[in-house]
């Protein structure tokens, strides 16, 4: 977490626009998107395919810079248009966590190692990293599979390990792109509830891109994206 910015929002996007191509082939994937998330807040992002959800997520995740607009994470300005204001890779390492539709676990590492590697990347000592990885796996209910390779885990278990990996460095912001798409509704809901638990207990903000309307009650706020524009969802389930 960013130490000196406890009162600042977890993430702030200001006027984000992303344009692919130029001239006749120009596509506006994201149009003047502004949003502000507090710490511990869990937000769902809905919208049809091609609406710009993933573009928004990758822009905020600092892997696909916007054409214009500003991104502030934990009170620290990190992007000004396409220009990076910090070392993006180092910033991601310390402050961001990612979960995707596929768990994207590294196939040659077991569950504990998949979590520990995120910590070691952030300069944790190997023994401390393993200890913390086991704690996280226990927290997420997959401690008994710690020594199994991803191949030996069910889809739900893999996704839990992926969540543990995203949480490993206690990030300010967790970005999840359709994390339950490969799971049945029961397990999908379990993962969504897990995000809420993580956000509320650990103070991370979570943005979840989802098509699963059945779990929307789990989220603090729901946004909808269409044609690159972001707006609060019609039936926001905010408590």
């Amino acid at each position: 977490m960013i130490a000196d910015a406890n009162n600042s929002p977890a993430v702030e996007a200001l006027g984000l626009t992303k344009i692919y191509g130029a001239g006749n082939t120009e596509v506006v994937a994201m149009k003047d998107v502004s949003v502000r998330l507090a710490r511990g807040e869990v937000v769902a992002l809905l919208g049809p395919s091609g609406a710009g959800k993933s573009t928004f997520l990758t822009a905020v995740g600092l892997i696909n810079p916007p054409t214009s607009g500003r991104i502030v994470i934990g009170g620290k300005p990190v992007m000004d248009g396409p220009r990076a204001l910090v070392d993006l890779r180092a910033f991601r390492r310390r402050h961001l966590g990612f979960v995707f539709q596929k768990a994207n676990l590294i196939p040659f590492l077991n569950a504990a190692e998949n979590v520990a590697v995120a910590l070691e990347i952030n300069d944790a000592a190997p023994r401390a990293a393993r200890k913390r990885a086991l704690e996280l796996l226990d927290y997420l209910g997959v401690a008994e599979r710690a020594n199994n390779l991803p191949d030996a885990l069910s889809g739900g278990q893999q996704q839990r390990v992926a969540v543990a990996r995203a949480l490993a460095n206690e990030p300010s912001l967790i970005l999840a792109d359709e994390p339950t798409a490969a799971l049945d509704s029961h397990r999908g809901r379990q993962v969504m509830v897990l995000f809420r638990k993580v956000a509320h207990e650990r103070g991370s903000a979570v943005i979840v891109v989802t098509h699963d309307h059945r779990s929307l009650d789990v989220f603090d706020r729901t946004y909808e994206m269409e044609d690159g524009e972001l707006r609060p969802a019609a039936a926001d389930h905010a408590p």
Partner: protein, 403 residues
């Protein structure tokens, strides 16, 4: 956490097969240098062990190994009269290829100046040096002859009384030691019919000339043994080896002999030089070229395998980058695999070589400096081979995870 080791464990089969392939290639590279070193050692084995300080050969030639040299055998007597010469011995060396037990038997026939030289300097593993002036031989183990075995060469049979090891010529043929007289008999052996025809021709030539008519005794001598004709040359020798007496400078003695118009003199060092830099120079260059090609092939194979392993991990590398992994960590993953592949291949080459090389038809001599040299080359090609994979890994964008 060592990602390279974890990845290798996960792809153990492929990695092991690649290691075996690289190991075999490196074994051939090692074998090539061993063959070259063995070739030098073989070429110098006689020069190094015969104990000659000077080699006296036919004028203008670079004999007796690099080219044919012919000298009268009685030259040794002339040489013994030179101040500073402790001993002079005739040297006969030539190759023969005969049939033995239904197989071709190729050997280098080497004449020892009996009785001064009985072959005590030959490295024997069984039997004894020559014990009589005729019909005995010492055979190198590579010829496959056993102690007590009789070998028919020319009109005579020779008994193997000693077996040597590592005594082979620069051409790789095992050396068989005989007395000089026997070696010459083998070299100049002629069928009886050829001898009879030659004698008849001599008589005919004498009859056709006045001297044959005037001195009929000449016709009788002409029809007899060649050795009975003072006008005919005795069998020639290849060289005469000279040992310089203690207290005399070999260069001075050599200069004295070199002043004779019918001979050329080489010191032991210059004879070795002729062998190494003249005779086997082409072989050296050829082997060097093969080694260079094999090293290049090994590098390409390693590079391709490491590149393929990297391609298989594109998604994982993208994920690591997304998590913020430094480039050094990702490059280290590939580099460590490359070095491990090279190191294991080198170890395998070493181990397999120890088993395979003694079964090679030519001697393979591996010196410690060859091993160190190859280890350096393997390290260099491992690093070089990893560059392609590292280059690919560095170009992978983190958003590849989403694809």
């Amino acid at each position: 956490m060592n990602l390279a080791a974890k990845d290798i464990r996960h792809n153990l089969g492929r990695f092991a097969l690649t290691t075996v392939g690289i190991g075999l290639l490196l074994m051939v590279v090692l074998g090539m240098s061993g063959i070259y070193r063995g070739m030098i050692d073989d070429a110098l084995v006689v020069v190094d062990h015969i104990g000659a300080d000077l080699w006296v050969v036919q004028r203008g030639t670079r004999g007796p190994f690099a080219e044919i040299s012919r000298l009268p055998a009685n030259l040794e007597h002339r040489l013994r009269a030179v101040p500073g010469v402790a001993s002079a011995r005739t040297f006969v060396s030539h190759n023969v290829q005969r049939e033995h037990r239904g197989q071709p038997l190729r050997m280098n026939v080497h004449g020892l100046a009996w009785p001064e030289d009985k072959g005590e300097w030959v490295k024997l593993i069984a039997g004894r040096p020559l014990g009589q002036a005729h019909y005995e031989m010492i055979a190198d183990a590579s010829l496959g002859l056993t102690l007590g075995e009789k070998l028919a060469l020319g009109k005579d049979s020779y008994t193997v009384v000693g077996v040597s090891r590592g005594m082979v010529s620069s051409g790789g043929d095992g050396i068989a030691f005989f007395t000089t007289q026997d070696a010459q008999a083998i070299q100049f052996d002629l069928p009886g019919e050829a001898i009879r025809l030659e004698r008849a021709a001599r008589v005919q030539r004498a009859v056709g000339q006045d001297i044959g008519q005037v001195q009929p005794l000449l016709l009788e001598r002409g029809a007899g043994n060649s050795a009975g004709l003072p006008a005919l040359a005795r069998p020639m020798v290849s060289a005469v080896t000279v040992r310089v007496a203690a207290g005399f400078d070999p260069a001075t003695v050599a200069a004295t002999i070199a002043a004779w118009p019918d001979v050329t003199v080489y010191t032991r060092d210059s004879q070795s030089e002729l062998l190494v830099h003249g005779m086997i120079d082409k072989a050296r260059r050829q082997i060097g070229l093969f080694r260079a090609l094999l090293v290049i092939i090994s590098t390409i194979i390693m590079a391709l395998i490491l590149y393929t392993l990297t391609l298989d991990k594109i998604h994982d590398i993208a994920m690591l980058k997304l998590m913020g992994a430094r480039n050094t960590m990702i490059a280290g993953l590939i580099l460590q695999q490359a070095i491990l592949l090279g190191a294991l291949g080198f170890g395998l080459a070493w181990y397999l070589g120890g088993w395979v090389f003694p079964r090679f038809p030519r001697r393979v001599l591996i010196a410690p400096e060859d091993l160190w040299g190859l280890a350096l080359v393997v390290t260099a090609i491992s690093i070089l081979a990893s560059l392609l994979g590292i280059w690919k890994a560095m170009r992978i964008e983190p958003n590849k995870v989403l694809s």
